[in-house]
């Protein structure tokens, strides 16, 4: 059964991407939108559009009942959740299935399992994937947290067992600090997620963030190699690459094989990402979590492999199986993506929801811009600040950085403050070019004034 009509339960650039991928496969689209998003590009591209609620995301893009009701009434046979919002919400996936529609993604039970950090870690260990030393499952008391921290050694990360997206994570350097932090963390976890369970993990100093893209059909799974996402600010990715620079081939193979083993072990269906911390000095990697959805940075993988990941998600959801075998997936060249956000990097990244009065976009071989912009578009203030993603592809990493610098010089988005100046400064950074970067590199680099002196 291939899909006929797809309901898109998301907004912004990913809604545009999903509309195009579906329409290219002859699948009609229904774009969900809030009252504040009636004029967004996804609505203009879609075959149909339906308003699901007011501007506030809690009453529209996060409202499971409103979303499922709209999907059912639209006559769609499947729902694509995109990323963020309800994409990793098992209750939403279940409600979609209960309404008789296909959820484009994994089984709700898989979302539940991989969404719980302790359960995900157990699944990884069972599949033979290396994990960061940490507590044996969740800890539900301060004493248990202290015991676990003593066993793995300080400093330790204190996380909500049910959390996600970097929220509620604290670092404790000493036992005294942990005694102070643990009750706060428990109260915050309880308030944010309705579950006060904690998880304790050893801190890997200055790790890199490397992740592996997988595709599964519920039985079999393949990997689409790795991405390097070490450049982060406030735990949000800023600049992403495929593949990871300077990674020994044997380590790459182990990372990718581990990811496939885990995807198979949990019967993964759809596109997913296994995230690792990589310790350069020790050449060691550790499972952090699995994201059970398409990721913002999926285009770099598409550029180096030639795969259409969103299209493959739709094929898999329609029952066509993987459609690609491991030996058909190979990497050509190097790709880089930068996130263009409506923020002023010279003013502490203050959000800037302005009106786009004009735009000039870079063109040429190996340049792609995934976005939801058009001239005259008023960026709504109610959602995140991502405007689009500029992606380049070139034979080597050095050439890709050069191409990114050229593309950034050629793009103008009039009327807005954006993170373009940040990316220009990064593209000119010798540390970045030499690969002397890790997840703790960008924030001190910004604090040292590298951005202001480069512009």
């Amino acid at each position: 059964m291939s899909l006929r009509k797809l309901f898109i339960a998301n907004r912004g650039e990913i809604a545009v991407r999903i509309n195009r991928a579906a329409q290219a496969r002859g699948i009609a689209t229904v774009q969900a939108h809030s009252e504040a998003d009636a004029d967004m590009l996804g609505v203009r591209l879609a075959d149909e559009a339906v308003c699901v609620g007011p501007a506030a995301a809690a009453k529209s893009y996060l409202d499971i009942d409103a979303m499922v009701d709209a999907a059912r009434r639209s006559g769609a046979d499947a729902v694509h959740p995109g990323y963020g919002f309800l994409a990793e919400n098992a209750a939403f996936a279940r409600a979609v299935q209960d309404a008789g529609l296909v959820f484009v993604g994994p089984d709700p039970d898989t979302i539940d399992r991989m969404g719980d950090k302790a359960a995900a870690r157990r699944a990884a260990m069972d599949a033979g994937v290396p994990v960061v030393p940490g507590s044996d499952g969740r800890v539900d008391s301060e004493d248990a947290a202290l015991d676990a921290a003593r066993a793995v050694g300080f400093p330790v990360l204190v996380k909500a067992a049910a959390g996600g997206g970097g929220r509620g994570i604290r670092i404790a350097h000493t036992e005294d600090e942990l005694r102070k932090l643990a009750p706060q963390a428990r109260a915050e976890a309880k308030a944010a997620f309705g579950d006060g369970g904690l998880y304790i993990e050893k801190v890997i100093v200055n790790p890199r963030h490397i992740e592996v893209q997988v595709l599964g059909d519920g039985t079999d799974a393949v990997h689409c190699y790795e991405r390097e996402c070490s450049l982060q600010r406030r735990r949000q990715k800023v600049w992403e690459e495929a593949g990871a620079f300077g990674l020994p081939d044997a380590t790459r193979a182990k990372m990718c094989d581990s990811a496939v083993a885990l995807a198979r072990a949990v019967g993964y269906r759809g596109a997913g990402t296994i995230e690792y911390l990589y310790d350069d000095a020790a050449d060691a990697f550790y499972f952090i979590e699995m994201n059970t959805r398409i990721q913002v940075e999926h285009p770099v993988t598409e550029m180096v492999t030639g795969l259409d990941l969103i299209g493959l998600m739709l094929d898999i959801a329609g029952g066509a199986g993987l459609g690609v075998t491991q030996d058909q997936i190979a990497v050509t060249g190097h790709a880089i993506e930068v996130r263009l956000n409506a923020e002023d990097p010279l003013m502490q990244f203050m959000p800037f929801p302005g009106k786009l009065t004009g735009m000039r976009l870079p063109e040429g071989d190996g340049i792609r811009f995934d976005h939801f912009l058009y001239e005259g578009y008023q960026i709504p203030p109610y959602y995140d600040s991502l405007l689009g993603k500029l992606i380049v592809h070139a034979p080597t990493r050095a050439q890709a950085i050069d191409r990114m610098a050229t593309a950034l010089d050629a793009i103008t988005l009039d009327g807005l403050k954006t993170t373009i100046p940040l990316h220009k400064a990064l593209a000119a950074s010798e540390d970045l070019r030499a690969g002397r970067v890790h997840t703790q590199w960008l924030e001190p680099w910004l604090e040292a004034g590298n951005l202001t002196s480069a512009t």
Binding site: A36, P54, A55, A56, A342, E343, M350, P351, P353, P381, Y382, Y383, D384, S385
Partner: protein
């Protein structure tokens, strides 16, 4: 009478968090620089501060409602 306007478009909140009391209630004294509410813009919370002193005369924009830059959020008398 003085109006307190929104510096940015976004969602206006009367309270620091859903469980807290509103920043101000009618009749409260307001000093220059007092926070009277929050505007959430692109997932960032900006404090709205009074630029004049006076007596709080009520919120004009509702709690958790969309506002545009320049909209009147509250009044002082």
């Amino acid at each position: 009478m003085a109006d307190i306007q929104s510096p940015l478009p976004g969602t206006f909140y009367h309270r620091p968090s859903p469980d807290d009391a509103p920043y101000k209630t009618d009749g409260d004294a307001v000093a220059i620089g007092d926070t009277i509410g929050l505007v959430e813009v692109m997932k960032t919370f900006i404090e709205v501060k009074a630029e004049a002193s006076g007596t709080f005369a009520g919120y004009v924009a509702g709690n958790e409602t969309p506002v545009q830059a320049g909209d009147v959020l509250a009044r002082l008398s």
